[in-house]
Symmetry: C2
C-alpha cells in the first residue's frame, strides 16, 4: 500500500498530495479547485466538528444557518471587506437553463437573468449583519452569540487539497456585543478555544498571536490567530478570530438601546476554522509510511488483524478478538476487526499504517497458545508483546492511546522549538531562512513598508506578533530602526 | 407572546407563517427565496440530524462531501434528469467582481467569464456518479454506501419558510450496488428508515408508498416515499428514496468487474430528506397557542419558572430548582431554569408555550411550604400539582415526556384516520375533496392521462400507491376503467 508514497525529504509537496489521495482523505473533483472529501477523510473532519461544536456550545454559542447567496450590493457595504473579497467571488447571474434552439444541448436561458447578481458567500459577515439589524434592538438582545457550519467559496487560482480550495467547509462565528471590552474579550476567548482544540485534540502546538495590520481580515480592526509549524519548516495559519469594532454595525446600521436609554452601534467579532485544519493535521505528524493520527481524532483507534492459515484458527482468533473488542468498547476505545478474507495480513498492516490507525493488534495461533497479543504503535513504528493474563488489557490499551496523544504533541513541540530561531541581523535572517526556514523570531520596526520589502525579497511574512512576547528593546533586522519586541517571520502555506 | 398568532381555523397559512417567525424558527432573508434558520429552529434541526445520522451509520453508511458546483455538461448527461432540473438552476457564470470605471460601484468583471458555466447543485447525482466512476472498479468496491449533509439550490418561484425555499439543507444518500436486487432492497430500507424516524421521533404517522411514474424523481426507475397529513387536510411528502436502476451508471460509464470475471454497469439508489421536515413537524402538531414539539426533538424538554416577589423567595426557589435540574439531568432530561429578572412569569409562560417546550414547571413560595410543584403539559394545556415527597419526581417527569411523545403521535394518527376517506365515485371524490380534503383512497386506472386530468380539475395528485394496499378489483373513479387497488389522492404541499 505505502509503495509509491514519496519520501518527505525528497519531495515534501508531492508526499503530501499523494498521502492525501492514497490514505483516502480527499481528491480533486471534476470542478476546478473543488475537492471531494472521501468518507475516511470526512470521518476525521466529523470528529473535529464534534469537539469544536461542543467547545462553542460550552462557551454559550448557538448554531444557526444563513443564506449561501449574498446580494452584490451587500458585499460592497463595508469598504475594506469588498476590497478583500471581490477578486475571488463566484457570481450567480442566471436562474435557469434551457435547450438550445439549434439542438446543441443545454444553454443558459438569457431571459432568466437576475436583476442583481448574487455572490456565493466567501464569508458571511454582510448577510449576517444585515440580519442582525432585525434581531438587535436593545441591550437585552445582547450578546448575540451565533455560529454557522457552512461551505464557502473563494475563487483561488492555485489550489491544494485541504490547504487552499475554491470551495471549503468551515465554521464561522459571528457575535454582537454591547461594549468594546466584551467584544475584545470574545475575540480573545475564541482564539484560545482554537488554540486549546489544536493542542489538546490535534496534538498541534500553536503560537497565539496578533496579525499585523496588513495581514488583518478585510473589515476587522484586529485579527488574532494561531500559527503552527509544519515538517517542511513552513508555517500554517490554523485559525483566526477577528475583532470587528463597529465596522459592520455601521455598514448595516445595527444600533441598540442601551440600559441608560441611549442608542449605540453594536460591537462585533467573527472567527473561523476550516477544512484547512485537515491539511495541518496531516502535514504536522505524518511520516513516509503514511498518516499519523492523534488518537483523539482517529476514526478508528485500534485495529485487530487475525493471522491464520486454517479456518479453525480463524474461528478461535475471532472469538478472542470479539472478547477484546467488547472490553475495549467498554472503556470508550473505538476498534475495528479487519477480518476481510480478500486481503493478506501484510496488505492490511500497510493499509492501516497508511491510514494512521494509532494501534494495531495482531493475533495468531501462537498468541492463542501463549495467551499473548502483539501491539504495534503507529507513531513510533514499535511493536510489543503483551500477556493477556498479566494486566487488564483494555485499560492498558487506553493508557497507550493517551501516551501516543501526548507523545505526538511533544514531538511536534520539540520540532517547533528546534525550528524557531532568534535572528538579530539581516544576514542571519537570510541564511537561517535559506538553511532551514522555520519561525524566525526577529525585531521589526513596525512599518508596513519594511514588512512588504522583506516579503518581496524573501517570501517570508510576519506570521504574528506573539501575545506572550517579552518587551525587549532592539533594532529591526531589516531597517535598523528601533523595535520594542520580536515578531515571528516564516514562509507560510 | 402568543398575541397576534392567528387561529388555524381562520387562516391556516398565515398561522403557519406567523408561528415560524414568532417561535424563532426561521425568517425570510434579504435574498429572495432563501431563509435564515434561527438558533432555536436550528437546534431542532440539529436534533433531527443527529438521529438520522445515527440511523444512517447503523445501516452501514458513511458521510462524505462533494462539490457545490456542477459543470453544466454533467447535468445534461442523464436525459430525464436535466429535463427535471434545468428550469430551476442557479448558474455561476463569472468568478470575479471589479470596481466600475465610472465609479458607480462594484460590477461583474466581464473578463472573468467561465469557459463552462457551473450549476449550483440542485441535487448531486451527476457530480457523485462522475466521482464513483473512479471509485468503483470491482465487486470488491461494492456496495458503496455514502451520505452527504449539504445545502442545495432550486430556483423556486413561490417559496414558503421550510416547505419550499430556494436554498435548503438536506442529506442525500447515494449508493452503488452489484445487483438490482440489492439496490432495490436499499431503496426500501432507506424509505423505512425515514418512516421510522418520522414516527418514532417526529411523532408523525406516515404512509409508506410508491410514486406514480409521473411523480418520480427525474432519473429514477422507481421512487418510494413517505406521505404525512397536515392539520389543514393537505398532504406533505416527507422523504423520498429512489431506485435509479443503471441510469446514472450508464450516463457516467460506471462499470465493475464481477466475481465471475464479467464487466457490468452498477445499480444505484439515492434518497433524501430536508429542512422541509421542519415544516411537517410544525404543521402536524402545533396549535393556536404556538408550537407543540415531541419531547424527543425538543431542544429543551422542561422549563422551570420561579414565581416570587421577594429576593429571599427567589433564593429558596432557585435552590429547589437546582436540585430538581440535577435530578432531571441524571435521567437524561434536558431542562432550563428561566431565572430572567427582566420578564414576568406570565410572559415566560406564554413564550415557552409559543416555543413548544413540552413540560413547564412552576415553583412558588407556597410550593416550597407544601413540598409541591406545578407541572403543565404543553400538548394538552393541562396542569397538575405534584407532591415532591410522594414519588421519585425525575422519573415521573421522564415518564410524562414519554407519555407526551406517544400521545402526540396518537393524536396525529387519529386525525389522519379521520381525514382518510374511501371514495367510490367521481361525485363522492369531488364532494369529499371540497368538504374536508384529506387523503382520498380511490381506484385509479393506472394511466398518466387520468392522473393529469384529475389534477387539472381538482388540484389533487396521487400522493402514492401505498405499499400495504390490498389487492381489490374496482373501477377508476374518473374513467370507470378497471383497477386492481386503491391509491391515495390529496392536495399537497
Amino acid at each position: 500500500m505505502s509503495k509509491g508514497l514519496p519520501k518527505r525529504s525528497e519531495d515534501y509537496s508531492l508526499w503530501y498530495n499523494e498521502l492525501v489521495k492514497k490514505a483516502d482523505l480527499a481528491e480533486n473533483s471534476a470542478v476546478r479547485g473543488c475537492m471531494v472529501i472521501k468518507p475516511y477523510g470526512y470521518s476525521i473532519w466529523e470528529k473535529m466538528q464534534a469537539e469544536l461544536d461542543r467547545m462553542f456550545k460550552e462557551t454559550g454559542h448557538s448554531n444557526a444557518y444563513f443564506p449561501l447567496f449574498i446580494p452584490k450590493s451587500f458585499l460592497s457595504k463595508e469598504a475594506s471587506h469588498v476590497e478583500g473579497f471581490a477578486k475571488e467571488c463566484a457570481v450567480v447571474t442566471h436562474y435557469r437553463l434551457k435547450n438550445a434552439e439549434d439542438g446543441s444541448g443545454v444553454i443558459v436561458d438569457p431571459e432568466a437573468k437576475l436583476e442583481e447578481e448574487l455572490i456565493v458567500r466567501p464569508t458571511s459577515e454582510t448577510v449576517i449583519w444585515s440580519t442582525y439589524k432585525n434581531w438587535i434592538q436593545s441591550y437585552r438582545d445582547l450578546p448575540l452569540l451565533v455560529n454557522q457550519w457552512a461551505n464557502v467559496v473563494r475563487w483561488e487560482m492555485r489550489t491544494r487539497l485541504f490547504l487552499r480550495t475554491t470551495e471549503f467547509l468551515w465554521q464561522e462565528g459571528h457575535t454582537a456585543h454591547a461594549t468594546k471590552k466584551e467584544a475584545e474579550a470574545e475575540t480573545l476567548q475564541m482564539m484560545n478555544v482554537y488554540a486549546q482544540f489544536a493542542e489538546d485534540f490535534m496534538a498541534l502546538p500553536v503560537v497565539r498571536g496578533r496579525k499585523t495590520e496588513s495581514e488583518r481580515f478585510a473589515g476587522a480592526d484586529d485579527t488574532l490567530c494561531i500559527e503552527a509549524m509544519m515538517q517542511d519548516g513552513k508555517a500554517l495559519q490554523a485559525g483566526t478570530s477577528h475583532y470587528l469594532g463597529q465596522n459592520f454595525a455601521k455598514a448595516f446600521d445595527v444600533k441598540f438601546a442601551t440600559k441608560e436609554g441611549g442608542l449605540e452601534y453594536v460591537w462585533g467579532t467573527s472567527w473561523g476554522v476550516s477544512t484547512r485544519l485537515m491539511g495541518a493535521l496531516i502535514m504536522a505528524h505524518s511520516d513516509d509510511n503514511g498518516l499519523v493520527l492523534p488518537p483523539k481524532l482517529a476514526p478508528i483507534q485500534v485495529v485487530i488483524i487475525p493471522i491464520y492459515r486454517k479456518d479453525e484458527e480463524f474461528d478461535a482468533i475471532s472469538e478472542k478478538a470479539n472478547e477484546l473488542m467488547a472490553e475495549l468498547r467498554k472503556v470508550g476505545v473505538s476498534v475495528k476487526y479487519d477480518n476481510r478474507d480478500t486481503h493478506k495480513p501484510g496488505f492490511k498492516f500497510a493499509e492501516h499504517e497508511l491510514k494512521g490507525v494509532p494501534l494495531r493488534i495482531a493475533i495468531g495461533p501462537r498468541d492463542l497458545e501463549n495467551g499473548t497479543i502483539e501491539i504495534a504503535r503507529r507513531d513510533t513504528l514499535t511493536k510489543e508483546q503483551f500477556e493477556l493474563a498479566s494486566q487488564p488489557i483494555a485499560e492498558k490499551i487506553a493508557d497507550m492511546l493517551e501516551e501516543i496523544q501526548t507523545s505526538i504533541y511533544s514531538k511536534a513541540f520539540d520540532f517547533r522549538t528546534e525550528m524557531t530561531t532568534e535572528v538579530n541581523s539581516w544576514d542571519e535572517f537570510k541564511s537561517v531562512l535559506e538553511e532551514k526556514t522555520g519561525f524566525l523570531s526577529a525585531h521589526w520596526d513596525g512599518t508596513a513598508e519594511t514588512e512588504e520589502k522583506i516579503k518581496d525579497l524573501t517570501k517570508a511574512t510576519i506570521r504574528c506578533i506573539p501575545l506572550d512576547r517579552k518587551e525587549e528593546d532592539g533594532v529591526c533586522v531589516f531597517s535598523g530602526k528601533p523595535s520594542k519586541g520580536r515578531v515571528l517571520f516564516a514562509k507560510a502555506y
